[in-house]
């Protein structure tokens, strides 16, 4: 076993996902402790743009596994192709973002390598030669620190949590894969981008979320208007479980324990009482604003700023004030 850290870079349709660069820098910190190198592995077809961007990261070396069989994501195919590369690298640790792809690929790879994996890590540790990671559990109601006793150590990293630093230029090498398209079991056949204008909930700087207090799905435009007032691409719309279960909003907007965990700079809860499942999903936001009619609502316990009032009265006024502030 070497002291090297392997980072699986996520590339979709030729584009490098930003969280891959966070994983490279987190890998750099580990490599500084182990005394090894950081090797980023990218898989796909037409990887030139992605590897050029990776070359500016803190990786020491980049391996581009270019193959038509890897043109579309396949959990079993990618796992096999990575194993082909690993046989020569014998890394001490393997990292990847905790993204839709990372969640699908890393457990499969980890089982094949007969080792442990920490999912959704928010901190990595290398102490006395032992790798460990800290991750939120119970949707963030608690944190678990776990040491992995098998090798290699594997972790998927929570996006937007590790910092990205620029490096000094990495060497790029191109590798082959023996994988053929007819060996693939499950394969992605189509990618559908969300309708334009939507900011992904977990990447937004501002989240404006609505709950039962809006009384009717038709009133949700008050929440959308406030989100829009922050400017294009700035704010995402979220929803409480109650309104998703009631069919007012889609599940992809749900914030909380059976939805998404978000940590934006600013979270505005509108007509949300703050059930424990909801609080778990947004309590690590930097600033929390609560607007609710009920002064006793639990949401005020976690809010930095609260307004006790009717959302129908407060939201239009706030939307107007935010629009003015943003316009300068």
């Amino acid at each position: 076993m070497s002291n090297n850290i392997v980072v699986i870079a996520e590339v979709r349709a030729g584009q490098l996902k930003k969280a891959s660069l966070e994983a490279v820098s987190a890998g750099r910190d580990l490599a500084n402790s182990t005394g090894g190198a950081v090797i980023a592995v990218a898989l796909g077809e037409n990887l030139d743009a992605a590897t050029a961007e990776l070359a500016k990261s803190e990786a020491d070396k980049i391996i581009a596994v270019n193959s038509p069989a890897l043109a579309h994501y396949s959990g079993d195919g990618f796992s096999k192709a990575i194993q082909e590369q690993l046989s020569g690298l014998e890394p001490a640790a393997i990292l990847m973002p905790h993204s839709a792809m990372g969640k699908d690929l890393m457990p499969r790879l980890s089982a094949a390598l007969q080792t442990g994996l920490i999912s959704d890590a928010t901190a990595l540790h290398h102490e006395d030669g032992v790798f460990a990671a800290t991750k939120p559990v119970f949707a963030g109601k608690a944190y678990l620190k776990t040491a992995v006793e098998k090798s290699p150590f594997m972790a998927t990293l929570r996006p937007n949590n590790f910092e990205t630093r620029a490096g000094s230029g990495a060497e790029i090498s191109v590798a082959q894969s023996a994988l053929t398209a007819d060996e693939l079991k499950a394969v992605v056949t189509d990618l559908v981008a969300s309708a334009g204008g939507h900011v992904p909930l977990q990447e937004a700087k501002v989240v404006v979320a609505g709950g039962r207090g809006l009384k009717d799905p038709e009133h949700f435009h008050l929440v959308e208007d406030l989100a829009a007032a922050f400017g294009e691409g700035k704010a995402a719309v979220g929803a409480s479980r109650a309104v998703v279960d009631a069919g007012w909003r889609e599940h992809r907007e749900q914030v909380g324990q059976t939805g998404k965990v978000v940590a934006p700079t600013l979270y505005i809860a509108c007509g949300i009482s703050g059930a424990i499942q909801h609080l778990a999903g947004m309590r690590t936001s930097r600033f929390i604003v609560a607007i609710n009619k009920d002064a006793e609502a639990p949401i005020f316990k976690v809010a930095d700023y609260g307004i006790v009032g009717d959302v129908f009265e407060v939201l239009p006024a706030l939307t107007e004030a935010v629009s003015k502030a943003v316009a300068g």
Binding site: D104, L109, T189, D190, R283, V322
Partner: protein, 249 residues
């Protein structure tokens, strides 16, 4: 078609989490345990596949202590045909859980293995894809829409900024995301019938976990916030605070 559903007993999502005296585990006092919410969706999907096919059997499996029988009975009451408890009192991680479940599933016919996308205790989302590797099966995780034709699943899953469509031939492992279906409640008749359905108890294979818990801790409490006022009159104070204190405007 033989359908296997892997389920887990977890603390209800409205549980207040407290750390036990050992500093590494959950204090179970006052915690209500339930069937993992995503596993309910997996069971529902299994029942729908069975009923569409007419010749299928749904077997639910869990790994855990004797008290997990309650969650298995819930699955039987929903309509599953049979249940297996792989009994263990030892702490497990995703590595050992998948190894033990796979060893059991290998002894059974299995066309489709269904799981919830993650258990809401440790939030790992590892076991489904691990099972797929150990059983050498096709896999689609976090599925929110599923169609089956000619023994090939077409699964739709959310990815960052969109959706992807996965072609996933049987035999396959699938993990269920919210939105896939609306899980049924067990009827009184179902609950009565569940008492007579087979619930087999098997000693779990011993597999040492790959990881060791160092500590379980609670996040620091948020500092007390302030109420800026009532109604629209407080908006000015809020915008002022967002601009000058929080500096987010």
């Amino acid at each position: 078609m033989e359908i296997v559903v892997c389920v887990k007993r977890v603390p209800a999502t409205d549980s207040q989490i407290k750390v036990a005296a050992d500093g590494t585990s959950l204090d179970p006092a006052g915690v209500e345990f339930v069937l993992n919410p995503y596993d309910e969706i997996a069971v529902e999907e299994a029942l729908k596949l069975r009923d569409a096919d007419g010749e299928s059997m749904v077997t639910v499996i869990t790994l855990g202590a004797l008290d997990s029988q309650k969650e298995l009975r819930t699955c039987l009451a929903m309509g599953a045909d049979k249940a297996i408890l792989l009994k263990t009192d030892a702490a497990q991680d995703a590595y050992s859980t998948a190894e033990i479940l796979a060893a059991q599933i290998k002894t059974m016919p299995h066309d489709v293995v269904l799981c919830g996308k993650q258990a809401v205790d440790n939030d790992n989302s590892q076991v489904p894809a691990r099972l797929a590797a150990l059983l050498d099966l096709a896999c689609a995780t976090e599925v929110k829409k599923l169609d089956l034709a000619d023994r090939v699943f077409t699964a739709v899953r959310d990815i960052e900024g969109g959706q992807e469509v996965v072609r996933c031939p049987i035999p396959a492992v699938l993990s269920a995301q919210k939105g896939l279906n609306e899980p049924r409640y067990a009827s009184l008749k179902g609950i009565m019938a569940a008492k007579k359905k087979p619930l087999e108890e098997v000693a779990a294979t011993e597999v040492a976990p790959a990881s060791r818990v160092v500590s379980l801790s609670l996040p620091p409490a948020r500092p007390e916030g302030k109420i800026l006022g009532d109604g629209a009159a407080a908006v000015e104070a809020l915008v002022d605070a967002l601009r000058n204190e929080a500096k987010v405007l």
